[in-house]
């Protein structure tokens, strides 16, 4: 007997439902085109020379032209006013260095300290931990507005403004926020028996945390690290507001498109800069999606 495969979610549709389906399908198709076409246009235009672009801004390139990518390297450097020094020019390598320092150190410290906080509150249940947890939930709901002026004034007084070390340190980790809650939930799910067995064997608290518990939440840690890296790679805001003397590649691109008329940069050249910035993050994102980060359990109970 042949068994007909049906989609259990669909069922029989009324006329109105069919109209809904057609309208939504057309709308989503138009929306999808609106999402993809500007990106496609940007990539195609980045391979046009200015004459091709001027003649036909929206068509496909008549020939692949790499000149924009060559010239953008010399056009991207930014000039920044540094207190006590004057105007300083930062090249691509300088911006790349700043980007890598921020993109590696900030997510690493932030994720690690957040994991520590979640371990202390969720797993060790330290005295006062419940209060901190409830406080964190309240802070996530209650908006506190208007502290930016006081923060800016205070950072300037403490010489923490335009200070990379300070910026990395003061944004490291918290006992509230989505990352904390996810670590908290993951750690609470791990049976206490693992820690108990290790304690009986004489393991220290540090050994238990690092060698037994941490590998079990490594996948969560790694995902936050990757996402933090991607966020920091694309972050122009930190350089714009807090670290004007430490421009990143994203900041360089952001500033470049504003000063493009001064640099006589053409639209294809600007778009080639965007494509350069887009490609690493797209590759990394695809790697996160495709690489299975297996949870590592090193058999804490069996030793």
């Amino acid at each position: 007997m042949r068994i007909r495969k049906t989609n259990s979610l669909k069922g029989n549709l009324s006329v109105l439902a069919k109209v809904y389906n057609v309208v939504v399908f057309i709308s989503l198709t138009v929306f999808s085109i609106s999402l993809l076409y500007p990106l496609f246009w940007a990539v195609c235009s980045s391979f046009k020379n200015i004459i091709d672009y001027t003649i036909d801004p929206i068509g496909l390139p008549k020939s692949i032209y790499f000149g924009n990518y060559k010239r953008i390297w010399s056009m991207l450097p930014v000039e920044v006013f540094k207190q006590g020094v004057g105007m300083v020019r930062y090249g691509i390598l300088d911006m790349l260095y700043n980007t890598i320092v921020l993109a590696v150190s900030k997510p690493f410290l932030s994720t690690t300290w957040t994991f520590f906080a979640a371990y202390a509150i969720g797993r060790l249940k330290v005295a006062g931990g419940k209060f901190l947890y409830d406080l964190g939930i309240v802070l996530m709901i209650i908006p506190i507005i208007g502290t930016f002026p006081a923060m800016m004034s205070l950072y300037r007084q403490l010489n923490w403004y335009d200070n990379m070390f300070a910026q990395i340190a003061i944004t490291s980790g918290s006992f509230y926020g989505m990352n904390f809650l996810m670590f908290y939930a993951a750690l609470k799910q791990i049976p206490w028996g693992y820690s108990e067995a290790a304690m009986i064997d004489g393991a220290s608290q540090w050994t238990i945390m690092i060698r037994i518990i941490f590998p079990m939440v490594f996948s969560t840690y790694a995902v936050f690290l990757f996402l933090g890296f991607l966020g920091a790679w694309n972050d122009y805001n930190t350089s714009l507001i807090w670290l004007p003397s430490y421009p990143t590649v994203a900041y360089g691109m952001y500033i470049f498109q504003f000063s493009a008329s001064r640099n006589t940069a053409t639209m294809p050249e600007i778009l080639s800069g965007f494509v350069i910035l887009m490609v690493p993050t797209m590759i990394l994102y695809l790697l996160i999606q495709n690489v299975v980060i297996a949870k590592i359990q090193i058999g804490g109970l069996k030793g």
């Binding site: 399908f25 929206i58 901190l132 507005i145 208007g146 923060m151 004034s153 540090w206 122009y236 498109q257």
Partner: protein, 313 residues
Amino acid sequence: MVKKMSKNKNFWGRRRARENLFGWVLLSWTVVMFLFNMIFVNFGSIIMAFQTIDKLGNRTWAGFDNFASFVKQAISKDSTLGLAVINSAKMYIINFVICNPLYFIFSFYIFKNYLGSKTFRKIMMVPSMVSSMIMALVFKMFVEGGLPTLYAFFTGNSAETFPNLFVDVRYVFGTSLFYMIWTSFYMALILYPNAMNAIDTGIFEAARIDGAGQWTEFWSIAFPLIWPTISTNLVLGVADFFTNSGVSVIFYKFAAPVQVQTVGYFFTATVMNDKGEQSYPMLAAGGMVLTAITTPAVLLVKHLLEKYGPSED
């Protein structure tokens, strides 16, 4: 026996003390940062709200002058701040109140795996691979560079007759609003179907057996079951009302036209444009006023949505 029990009690007491000590060492940095960023900075902001700062950086007591000045500007339609309040309200009402139900209607289509759903899901993930800054700048470049040509192609008019949507004051707000809705739409099309996937398909099958149509599945099953996700979105929108600066910083840096400024953008741009800090006290006072308004509003909206929203029963 009593000695042995008290020895055990001492052991567990020492162990617990060691755990607490270790735990607080782990917590130390995050607690110090919390004390600084939340307590110390907020305390400084409260003090600043009652001061004036002159051109030389001297601070004097100002009483409630800053509060009065902020409120006066916020309720005036002729001031930048007053316009920013109106813009923030428009963006919230249009994006969260009007568009949110539409996002849900479209998300239901994707959840039901109708024609093209898998392709649409994959396409919605594409902007997530690209940073929000790049998406915004590509959008801006396309609107300035590609859209006039498309306009000329479809209408036969010259591309030069197409207005610059980022400069022409008639269109700047609409352009920013469109961008906000456009990005909110694809994020909702990721968030809501994922929330609906958690619903047991057996519920839909049982409903269909009982003769339920698509509208019943949508309104009586899917909507109540993902109501927590929708209501969280609405509550966060209220919390974000005065802090959301939109995409104006990306489009305009700190020189956006007044027609497109929101309250969040106004705060950021004023701080960044004022190196002498003279406007900081008024902003600090304004922050306190807005916090006093937003906090009960968030709690009230949360309460109302929980009380009057659909229940899973």
